[in-house]
Subunit: 207 residues, 2 copies
DNA sequence: TGAAAAATCCCCCGAACAGGTGAGTACAGC
DNA sequence: GCTGTACTCACCTGTTCGGGGGATTTTTCA
């Protein structure tokens, strides 16, 4: 059997290096490419046709979730394992929803990584053991609101302390529109005021 | 001149591996030990008498800040570089206060790590370039506002999504008083609305 | 090309927030 | 006893938010 071809995507060189070192110790896999962002990653996937992509979730420009969605659309056969640090578990649900087969925390050991790779290539799903979700967190996970482009913009400006009128001016839209987005944000996050909105957004890693 | 002896402390094997790979490429340093937590790290330091310790800041049980403080007390000569991921810059000030000479973000490149090591061993302080404390952030760090007991209580309740009337009821005080505290909070954090208040408080680690 | 999703805009209304100013009480430290 | 700080409360004003509708135009994408 051929070696399993893996591509690792992460904007932290240190993580890339660490993952590379760990994968080296697994005889039946080969790291066929690495990428520091989603654009490069997509190119590499087209070139290399890997069996598995291990991708960071928090990346600038295109995050791991969108990246996974794009990747899965173009290459449904490629398996994906998401990776994230401790406090950002909140993305897991979205990641799974985007089609990822596995999830690892960055604190994973070589053994765990190996197990994840095997499970996923076996057609099974793998979730890092560290992902011990308490009920509240699980809730936060499920209800990861799907925000539209505009909603994200508005959310950012709210978190930057702008008032609705100021946001309206900045985005060249009417106050009514800002209010609409604002209400949609509150609804999607299932909160009733700005304080909780900002807090939830931060917890979800959106800010 | 002898090689520079370095000990790396991080609870993420992947980061350890990555750092090890990077340090390997720097000819005049040697990684004399690694540790997954502060206890082991202290042992290793006693054994190895390293020149430099590179430690994660976020670790279970004993965090990097306490660890640095302990380490510096026992071995004042050992240089320390703190390491953290992106969003946790708020610890930098505490880290420096504990005696660390440098700070790196985990997204650091090999070049940056090398520069940090050189600076620190040269007796200079090194702060990761990514830690471009813009004036606002620097302010956030310095001006950790001195909150009174009551103000903290109110702040917590605000962040929990309670409205002023609800807070008043909960604390058995009048709405006017809650408003007073609220205004004092806004003033102390130098912000003008609740969104920024919550955000600042989280950034300052108060929530 | 046609349906669905997103973005835009409008109205009303009451509640909550933010800014300013002032002031009484309680308590700790000097 | 004086001083400073925290905590409490009050009044007034205008702005912003939040909740409830409904409606139209782009955009997106199957």
């Amino acid at each position: 059997m051929d070696k399993i071809k893996i591509i690792v995507v992460d904007d932290h060189p240190m993580v890339i290096a660490g993952m590379a070192a760990m994968l080296l110790q697994i005889p039946y896999v080969v790291l066929s490419a690495t990428a520091g962002n989603a654009f490069i990653a997509l190119e590499k996937v087209r070139e290399q046709a890997p069996d598995l992509v291990i991708t960071d979730i928090n990346m600038p420009e295109i995050n791991g979730i969108e990246f996974t969605a794009k990747l899965k659309k173009e290459f449904p056969g490629v398996k994906v394992i998401g990776m994230s640090t401790f406090n950002e578990r909140s993305y897991i649900a979205q990641m799974i929803h985007s089609g990822a087969e596995g999830f690892l925390v960055k604190s994973a050991s070589k053994e765990e990584i190996e197990k994840a790779i095997n499970s996923v290539l076996d057609g099974k799903m793998y979730l890092s053991l560290d992902v011990n979700l308490n009920t509240q967190e699980r809730k936060d996970l499920k209800n990861q609101p799907m925000l539209t482009r505009r909603e994200k913009e508005v959310l950012l400006l709210i978190a930057d302390g702008l008032t609705s009128p100021q946001i309206a001016e900045k985005l060249f839209i009417s106050l009514n529109t800002v209010d609409s987005h604002r209400k949609n944000l509150l609804a999607k996050f299932e909160v009733t005021n700005t304080a909780l909105l900002v807090r939830s957004a931060i917890k979800s890693g959106l800010l």
